[in-house]
Symmetry: C2
Subunit: 150 residues, 2 copies
DNA sequence: GGTGTTACGTTGGTGCGACCAACGTTGGTT
DNA sequence: AACCAACGTTGGTCGCACCAACGTAACACC
């Protein structure tokens, strides 16, 4: 018959790290599908959003702001620059650096992708009340903050 | 100077899907490091645990139980069988199927990896009280359950 | 009792996120 | 002048998730 919905291994089904992983995996898939409509991926959005909201930065700084490796920033910025969403200019004050800035089109795209993110998020969190969403956010934030300062 | 700790893009830092992703990513890294000591990966543990706890199954069933694609099950079971942690036998009742069973060694390894999981989990959830951990588990479970029955 | 459909294991491939090592160049320190 | 640190870039690796296609085997229906 081949029925039986996807299940988790017995002992794992209540394991936070399993739940975390599965939920994040699901969220990532939804997000990926949403971003696909823009023909861009998660890295692109993170960078674009950071540029639009926090202003221009060097690639290394961008990487630190977004938690993306320098080498991956290169490729993503290449893509964004190739579409005119972002401009790469040499930093006159430090010839090692490039200053990356979002163009007007880039800022627009960042807004559009932000809207997509909101939409996906609403879908993802549909079963939770506003209070519960805030609870979840608080718990995750505390976990992250604790582990970010090793 | 290169100071500045990894940060999230401004607007994203409070976005559940970002938090979910980052936390899961962190958990996955810790888990991966833990499992590396066993020279195995997440897929191997899921399968081994499922076999040890829920008993033998065909590869397709295993895939469904663990949420792993059939084709990925093949490779992982190959690894496990190569180490004698698992046995692949033809199903006399259905010649399409293989019956996979954990060996004694496999069951032992499953227990050891389970202990590793516990250890990692304790580290991950260190900043949360028991009540908060339960809260987190409940919220994630509800999210998952909601989305699993599309 | 053939026929069509479904499930199974397997092969081979894709995509994304994350990470690492190394190099040449440039800036700051001493 | 010599050293070291940071920058951008190239070119990999790994793990997880997913898909398409194949041949074989089981099942359903008429």
């Amino acid at each position: 018959m081949d029925n039986a919905a996807p299940q988790s291994p017995a002992g794992l089904s209540t394991s936070p790290s399993w739940l975390l992983n599965q939920t994040a995996s699901h969220a990532a898939r939804l997000l990926s599908e949403g971003f696909a409509a823009h023909d861009l991926r998660g890295y692109h959005y993170r960078l674009l959003a950071s540029l639009a909201e926090d202003g221009p930065a060097s690639q290394a700084d961008l990487g630190r702001r977004c938690g993306i490796d320098r080498s991956d920033v290169v490729a993503a910025i290449n893509d964004l620059a190739g579409r005119g969403l972002v401009v790469r200019a040499p930093d006159p004050a430090d010839r090692r650096r490039n200053v990356i800035s979002a163009t007007d089109g880039g800022a627009d795209e960042a807004r559009r992708m932000g809207a997509t993110l909101e939409r996906v998020q609403a879908d993802l969190l549909a079963p939770l009340s506003a209070t519960e969403r805030e609870q979840l956010t608080r718990l995750l934030t505390r976990l992250l903050r604790h582990h970010s300062r090793h």
